[in-house]
């Protein structure tokens, strides 16, 4: 066991003696910080290009409005109250309605309510715009949850999931408490958005740091010494894999906690117990923002471990670190530019299992379920389990490949 820890410490030493690895770590932290603070730095400009107020103050105002409504149920009363406020807007095409005085004075307070009800009332034939909202009837408001239910059911029935999966997803919504209670939860909204960037940063950093894990030995020429030494084909390989696991896990935990802390510090900690439906109104999972944040973080964590393990395996198989970096870049970046239709469910779900998609919130709380051997598995369960199993398999492959490496 002593030998193992000794080898682990040398592997860490090798990584941190490489300037590239250290620079990557610093850059990752810097980019992650900037992706949060970048959104509140700067000013809001009016149509003449004059600064009106800082983005930070603007954000504060929204936050206060949201907090004023916190705790109120989204029911007929609140919807009509919001509609009333929106009816005061004098709409003309010359000016964006959000720039108007009436918006500032009456409607802005309810902007969050508008964005929630909009996604329920929107139909493919008729856009539920500001004007429609201002003119809506009490009857429409009364039917809010019924319309939501119908629309949700319709959307799920339209997918190509199995019937069992469809029923299971539709059934979930009975667990969502109604009426949904409004809660300020901007911190979580931001966290769900920014964690994607954080996840990609961790994945890229892991790819760069671990690309030379094995192939660095090939290029340095130390492989003949290592592979002819007692532990070179066994314990050392586990030590290397252990390092890639712990370092990527550490990186992932630190950057996730950092992102979370920043979001909470800037946009407030409110909303941990609020329903996720405030953020995605059509969703049927009975989950809170806090639970979603945890499930999402676990998925990102597992995805990072998988990315590191995949990098390690490629590093063992490919002669040079740059080869691994190129392949990993394609694997991480290409899916961000692709779109796979949900019509072919299996292909679409496979697409969701690529590292960068595992780090996207929409893939984790997707309504389309994973189905395997007749089981219907929630994406937020399946994704991390899959990632960890894949990581183990990649690790074992790396072990096999390195142990069989021929020096010639």
């Amino acid at each position: 066991m002593n030998t193992f820890w000794n080898l682990v410490s040398y592997e860490y030493k090798k990584i941190f003696k490489r300037k590239g690895a250290v620079i990557t770590l610093i850059l990752a932290a810097a980019v992650s910080l900037f992706s949060v603070f970048g959104t509140i730095i700067g000013y809001i400009y009016d149509s003449n290009g004059e600064p009106v107020m800082s983005r930070y103050d603007d954000m504060k105002t929204d936050l206060e409005y949201a907090r004023e409504l916190s705790g109120r149920a989204i029911d007929t009363e609140l919807i009509m109250e919001a509609s009333e406020a929106y009816s005061k807007l004098e709409l003309n095409s010359a000016e964006k309605y959000t720039d108007s005085e009436e918006y500032e004075n009456y409607a802005r307070k309810y902007s969050e309510i508008y964005s929630i009800v909009r996604s329920v009332y929107n139909t493919s034939s008729e856009l539920f715009d500001v004007q429609t909202f201002g003119n809506m009837t009490k009857e429409q408001a009364d039917n809010f949850y019924e319309i939501r239910r119908q629309k949700q059911e319709q959307a799920i029935m339209q997918t190509n999931m199995s019937d069992a999966a469809k029923q299971s997803v539709i059934g979930l919504d009975s667990g969502v408490e109604k009426p949904i209670v409004f809660e300020a939860s901007e911190g979580y909204t931001r966290f769900f958005a920014i964690m994607y960037t954080t996840g990609i940063i961790i994945a890229v950093a892991a790819a760069i740091i671990f690309a030379p894990l094995f192939s660095g030995e090939y290029t340095s020429g130390a492989d003949s010494l290592i592979l002819s030494s007692k532990h070179g084909k066994s314990l050392l390989v586990w030590a290397k894999l252990f390092v890639s696991f712990t370092l990527s896990a550490g990186l992932s935990v630190i950057l996730t906690v950092l992102t979370y802390a920043e979001c909470m510090a800037i946009w407030g900690t409110d909303g941990a117990d609020a329903a996720i439906q405030l953020q995605v109104p059509m969703m049927s999972y009975p989950l809170t923002m806090g639970q979603c944040a945890l499930l999402y973080s676990v998925s990102v964590f597992a995805a990072c471990i998988m990315t590191a393990a995949l990098t390690a395996m490629l590093s063992a198989a490919i002669k040079t670190p740059s080869g691994t970096i190129v392949i990993m870049s394609v694997i991480i970046i290409a899916p961000m530019m692709l779109n796979v239709s949900e019509d072919i469910v299996w292909l679409y779900k496979l697409f969701c299992l690529l590292p960068s998609n595992m780090m996207a919130f929409w893939c984790i709380i997707d309504s389309i379920q994973f189905e395997l051997f007749g089981l219907v598995i929630r994406p937020y369960i399946f994704t991390p389990v899959f990632a960890l199993v894949a990581a183990v398999l990649f690790g074992i492959s790396a072990y096999r490949i390195f142990g069989k490496k021929q020096v010639n």
Partner: protein, 291 residues
């Protein structure tokens, strides 16, 4: 203590780098002699488990070369290999010791001993990237010995060493050969002439001779001649026989050559050396190549 090679063969495509090599090595120093490209490095890689033979097997007292127990008793100096340039000599030795499974305390003692032995004691704390070729080579020799190996495989260990270092190295190997198997390759005859108990001669992937110095030389004993002849005679002899040495002298051309019988009137039979044998094979190859 027996290292057995049984019809070990390595092909690279249609090129046969090692051709059915069978050998049994026991305690002692073995010198593997062969020109560049003869297949020495390929053979040694297979003996160290980092290259799988195309066919044939290698084992030590019944332990297959692919096993951890085999590597546990192995010390290997590869012909060319990489160091971690940012590591100091001390770091490097400690790291290899960890790879070989030495406990830290023992590793420290061995590192100090061995660095002293290869005269790198004062450079122990210096980064390897500041080392000269000879210093790196000595460090390579030191790391091979860390685990006090039963099988020590050294691929061109004297490359980059200066004459003084060569002598020190030879003495070291002679001392160590008493209780282990040492195999060292070289294309320089004088490296092994006096320290190898057994000489193995490789040519084009084949093991063409193996035996003690005396046995090996037997092939050309009594067949080495020296003479000084006019230019035209010299040309004629060069055409016909393997020439080991030639130089212009005042009275004509001095020749040292291999021939079954006296090649010319004034030829004098001289004692054969390993160098003669080596050059004999080497020149036979060249002469057939030229045809």
């Amino acid at each position: 203590m027996e290292l057995t090679l049984d019809r070990v063969t390595k092909n690279y495509g249609s090129k046969i780098a090692c051709d059915r090599i069978s050998l049994t090595l026991t305690k002692g120093v073995y010198g593997l002699l062969g020109a560049n490209g003869a297949g020495k490095t390929t053979l040694m890689r297979m003996m160290c488990g980092i290259l799988e033979p195309t066919s044939g097997s290698i084992s030590y007292d019944g332990i297959d070369v692919s096993r951890e127990e085999y590597r546990d008793v192995l010390g290997y100096l590869p012909q060319d290999f990489g160091y971690y340039p940012e590591f100091t000599a001390q770091d490097f030795m400690m790291y290899i010791a960890a790879l070989k499974g030495l406990p830290k305390a023992k590793a420290k003692v061995r590192t100090t001993e061995l660095l002293e032995l290869v005269s790198l004691k004062n450079e122990a704390k210096k980064k390897i990237k500041t080392f000269s070729g000879g210093m790196k080579q000595r460090l390579g020799i030191a790391q091979a010995m860390l685990n006090d190996p039963k099988i020590l495989v050294l691929d061109e260990p004297t490359a980059g060493l200066d004459p003084k270092e060569r002598v020190r190295f030879r003495n070291l190997i002679s001392r160590m050969g008493a209780d282990r198997i040492i195999l060292l390759s070289t294309h320089i005859v004088s490296d092994i002439e006096h320290i190898a108990d057994t000489i193995l001669v490789m040519k084009s992937g084949q093991l063409i001779h193996s035996g003690s110095l005396d046995e090996i030389i037997e092939v050309i004993r009594g067949k080495v001649w020296e003479c000084t002849v006019p230019q035209d005679v010299a040309d004629m002899l060069t055409e016909k026989y393997p020439i080991i040495n030639t130089r212009n002298a005042a009275e004509g051309v001095f020749l040292r050559l291999v021939c079954d019988k006296k090649p010319c009137e004034n030829a004098v039979n001289t004692e054969a050396t390993l160098e003669d044998l080596y050059l004999y094979y080497f020149s036979v190859e060249e002469r057939t190549d030229n045809k």
